[in-house]
């Protein structure tokens, strides 16, 4: 497949490349606690809502998860479960929120909702597999940091949608 041979798939590939790129940036940022994810790679997903069809959205999700697994090197470990659970639940919730509320919710709300789903499912898996009892101690920390980071990401995504000319052009092509 060559670029532009199929514009829609092309666009999904571009978005997923951005997700990969953001994953790399996130991987390089030193984290005081290893399992706290900033969720930078979610930004393409948040922006894709309203632009992509459901199938395209889920294709992007698949590519994003695969890419993240490759970059962080966790693709064959049980850590991929965390990433999968977090990404899938977050993506589904975000899609739900957007489909239910369309224009009545901004990217900020979508982002926060997604982060809630992601953090809760990751805490659940942590309780079962990795940290067990310790999860109860980490939980408040995870939840609060997830809340704050998702707000910032949501604001950034919202800003992008409003101000980017590239995005406007893509939107016109998509309608």
């Amino acid at each position: 497949m060559t670029p532009h041979s199929n514009t829609r798939v092309d666009l999904v590939a571009l978005f997923s490349a951005c997700a990969l790129f953001l994953s790399t940036i996130e991987y390089m940022i030193p984290k005081p606690i290893p399992f706290m994810r900033l969720g930078l790679a979610n930004i393409p997903l948040i922006i894709a809502l309203g632009l992509f069809s459901k199938r395209e959205y889920f294709l992007l999700l698949l590519l994003k998860v695969l890419g993240q697994g490759l970059i962080s090197g966790t693709i064959f470990s049980y850590i991929i479960l965390f990433s999968l659970a977090g990404s899938i639940s977050s993506a589904i919730i975000m899609l739900l929120i957007y489909t239910l509320f369309k224009d009545k919710v901004s990217r900020v709300g979508i982002s926060i909702g997604g982060a809630l789903g992601s953090t809760l499912s990751q805490l659940l898996i942590s309780r079962l597999i990795l940290f067990k009892e310790a999860t109860y101690v980490i939980a408040p920390l995870f939840l609060f940091s997830g809340l704050i980071s998702s707000i910032i990401l949501g604001l950034a995504a919202q800003r992008f949608i409003v101000m980017s000319k590239w995005y406007q052009t893509m939107k016109e092509i998509s309608v």
Partner: protein, 125 residues
């Protein structure tokens, strides 16, 4: 920001509430019954709810304990009188088993589980 909507604020509040409530989880950790074993000046601690086996060396040999189904007992011991083995299973905080010849002392510590109504306690007599 002009573009923030009501729904945004609702979702934010939901998340915030859950975060604050998560602080109450701290209480589920403390108070779990533990098996404390002292022998030869050293101390070992085990979670009563986790099945495990352990062996302790003393003057006359080894004394082994087994934790299973939230109970603990002395599985086998090298002492002559075998009192510790015959003591059977213990499970409540405050109960203990001792192997005096081998210098091993086993005690269950923790918060007592709330007794169900009508249940008779050892200490009532």
């Amino acid at each position: 920001m002009k573009q923030l909507t009501l729904i945004d604020i609702i979702i934010f509040t939901i998340f915030l509430t859950i975060s604050i409530l998560s602080f109450t989880l701290y209480t589920t950790i403390s108070g779990k019954p533990e098996v404390h074993v002292t022998s030869g000046g050293k101390e070992w601690v085990y979670d009563l709810s986790v099945d495990t086996q352990a062996s302790f060396e003393g003057p006359v040999g080894f004394t082994s304990i087994e934790i299973s189904n939230n109970r603990v007992h002395v599985h086998e011991s090298d002492c002559k009188n075998q009192v510790c083995v015959l003591a059977g299973w213990i499970s409540k905080p405050g109960e203990w088993i001792a192997c005096l010849p081998n210098n091993v002392f086993i005690l269950i510590q923790g918060e007592p589980v709330i007794a169900k109504e009508g249940e008779v306690d050892d200490t009532s007599f």
